[in-house]
Amino acid sequence: MAKKKAQKVDESSYSMETHILYGKNFSDKWDYSHHVTAPISSSTTFRLDSVERGAAGFMQFANTLNLDPDEAPIFIYDRLGEPNKDMLEENLADVERGETAVSYATGMGAISAVLGILTRSGDEIIAHKTLYGCTFSLLTNWLPRYNIKTIMADLTDLKSLNSLITSAARVIYFESPANPNLDIIDIRSIAAIAKEINKNRTESEKLYIVVDNTFATPYCQRPLELGADFVVHSLTKGIGGFGADMGGAAIGRKEFRDLLLLYRKDMGAVLNTKSAWAIMTYGLPSLALRMSKIIQTSIKVAEFLESHPKVHFVNYPSLKSFKWYDLARDQMTDFDGNFAPGGIIFFSIKGKNADERRAKSSKFMDYVAVNAYTLTLAVSLGHSRTLIEHPASMTHSVIPADKLLEKGIEPGGIRLAIGLEKADDLILDLKKGLAIV
């Protein structure tokens, strides 16, 4: 069935917007292609008809480079792999223009896995100074226990990058746009620097670029096309899209699939099948539809905020005033090449100093938490509802207050993750909140 259909249709002539609806709709991973909506795999273990088949299954697991990619895998146990995750992974790899994807229980599970397979004791990671709080904590609290050191750098300025790359450096890690302040990092230029360095390095010494693409989603940016080696995602956010399921993914070249699978098997951050199914059935297929609407709304909201007299600054890539406007315009594009500035806005309210700005932001958020219909005070992003939060006291609270500015985070900064509401309704609630500060 699967092959018959694949022969009939040349998938490459269709747009990505259509592709994410169908994905690899005729997957060989599970022959339920006559079910128009896939079943939810609900078994933790799989019957192996014979010891021989069992042995073959264990031999094939994480040995994908030597396997015929069209052959149906032998499933053994959910933690090793099962059909729903495999199908989701095929679709995620496709949409990020990668060769392979491996899913994890959460975004942090995916980040740990990529860093876990690329580094060992004595290695170094160079990371952008502005990062999601838990990634920052992983790099500074946990990896040092294994003698893996992270050098925090300002990757928006590449002049000094070369001098930071020692022979122990294995990974350049960043988010672009960065969480929460939307710093934009030039992926192509960093890729060029890494390429140059790797010319003189052996296979085991290579330097890899890992980009957390959660803020942009593949609709707005495909880092692998720009030269990155790995993309990581929190599927909980824009790709999942409804705040109903947690998940993570690492996407890259197929030579890394086996290591990523082995890491997942042994560390155990396995995406559950019901979430994999929901993300595959509801999240990813609606990504283009949701993101195109979210971008339109975000542009209106960012312009409103920028024009408001009480607003100190607004970081949003489509604004002409945005510090990295040209770079963002160049590397953040939708599948057709149009500028796609994403759905996250970072802004602050005016005040005499940082303390006053922070106090006013708190007052604003406390007001909207109770009085706004559309703005929900909550962490997370990429939700159907617009979420508002205060990074300094929530997502980035791991960073000491006196280090916030050093990390590029305005202490009074407010992160707004735009949802699917009508733009005018969001503006109405923002207006009411700003009126009281």
């Binding site: 909506t37 896939a38 079943p39 939810i40 078994s43 273990t45």
Partner: protein, 377 residues
């Protein structure tokens, strides 16, 4: 195969494609057809669903029948079953069935010209007397809800076979673990699978089991044509529950016995209805016809005020409709499950305002007794 072996395996062979030991939740509503008239036997979710099929086969095996036909609720199953009769037909019903069955028959089915006679089937000769030339079905519930009156299925079957009538039994109260009406000769069994079959108060469902091809074909047609089908996810959850039916039922019975004995000893209880008690008027029939006495206990208290104050003071028993869950529930049938039955009708079979119905869960029996004792004091 033994009951528990069937409960765990029947209808649930490993997935043919992957070998998955547990049946997947098959969610597709439609199936891709290879060409006009060529498909794998699956066309549309209302007609065919693999998870539903697994549940149907599973419960059919537990009820010792050939076919199971699943519906979205117990009442949907009963309504579909009534697809066997048409305008002008006559149905004989136990006079003390679930209030919803009474409501469906009296307020809806009569409107389509179906005639019902309500008789005390505890004495099977009453059925004999009610039979008319247009009688098609004898509809039993044994034990009844909530008075736990039994009907001798074998005796009724002697009549229905002689008269060529269909005998159907609502077996919700006993579950297939304690009673198999098909073995006793009934033509079909109906369950509200919301109750003991699912057992965790989180899924609504109904199912009909039969070995008769004629009944099966009509019910399958009703499932397709009227469309009250259960969701794949609900079928999957119910399948998960039937696996523990045996262990749950054993504990329900132990706890129900303990509660019944406590109520008998209590000064403010007029009468306790539980088929396991030797003074239950049909105790001998219960021992013959059922392999256990179930988890339902009904008691008449001294007064409505007494019953009412008990409901307010119970802490573990939750005041709620439904039954058969792992958690203990108590209800006031006169105003809740049987509110649709007129007072004069219900009082005739003993259902006064002072009656409470206990669905005894599988908590620690000592805690349940303690809860009752605290409330009664």
């Amino acid at each position: 195969m033994g009951f528990s072996t069937d409960a765990i395996h029947a209808g649930q062979r490993p997935d043919p494609v992957t070998g998955a030991v547990i049946t997947p939740v098959y969610l597709t509503t439609t199936y891709h057809q290879e060409e006009l008239g060529v498909n794998k036997g699956y066309e549309y979710g209302r007609l065919h669903n693999l998870t539903r099929e697994a549940l149907e086969k599973n419960v059919a095996a537990l009820e010792k029948g050939k076919y199971g036909i699943a519906f979205s609720s117990g009442l949907a199953a009963i309504q579909a079953f009534m697809g066997l009769v048409k305008s002008g037909d006559h149905v004989i019903v136990s006079n003390n069935v679930y209030g919803g069955t009474f409501r469906l028959f009296e307020t809806i089915m009569t409107g389509y010209g179906v005639e019902f006679s309500w008789v005390d089937t505890a004495s099977p000769e009453n059925i004999e007397h009610a039979i008319k030339s247009n009688t098609k079905i004898v509809y039993l519930e044994t034990p009844t809800n909530p008075m736990l009156t039994l009907t001798d299925i074998e005796e009724v079957v002697k009549i229905t076979r002689r008269q060529k009538l269909i005998c159907v039994v609502d077996n919700t109260f006993m579950s297939p673990y304690f009673q198999n009406p098909l073995i006793l000769g009934a033509d079909a069994v109906i369950h509200s699978s919301t109750k003991y079959l699912n057992g965790h108060s989180d899924v609504l469902g109904g199912i009909v089991v039969t070995s008769s091809e004629i009944i099966h074909d009509r019910l399958r047609y009703m499932q397709k044509a009227a469309g009250s089908i259960p969701s794949p996810f609900d079928c999957w959850l119910t399948l998960r529950s039937t696996k523990t039916l045996a262990v749950r039922m054993k504990q329900h019975e132990i706890n129900a016995f303990t509660v019944a004995k406590y109520l008998v000893s209590s000064k403010c209880v007029k009468r306790v209805y539980y088929p396991g008690l030797p003074d239950h008027p049909q105790h001998q029939l219960a021992k013959r016809q059922m392999s256990g006495f179930g988890g339902m206990v009904t008691a008449e208290f001294d007064s409505f005020e007494m019953a009412k104050s008990l409901l307010k003071r119970l802490r573990i028993f939750a005041l709620a409709e439904s039954l058969g869950g792992v958690e203990s529930l108590v209800c006031h049938p006169a105003s809740m499950t049987h509110a649709s039955v007129p007072r004069e009708v219900r009082e005739k079979f003993g259902l006064t305002d002072s009656v409470l119905r206990f669905s005894v869960g599988i908590e620690d029996a000592d805690d349940l007794v303690q809860d009752l004792d605290n409330a009664i004091k």
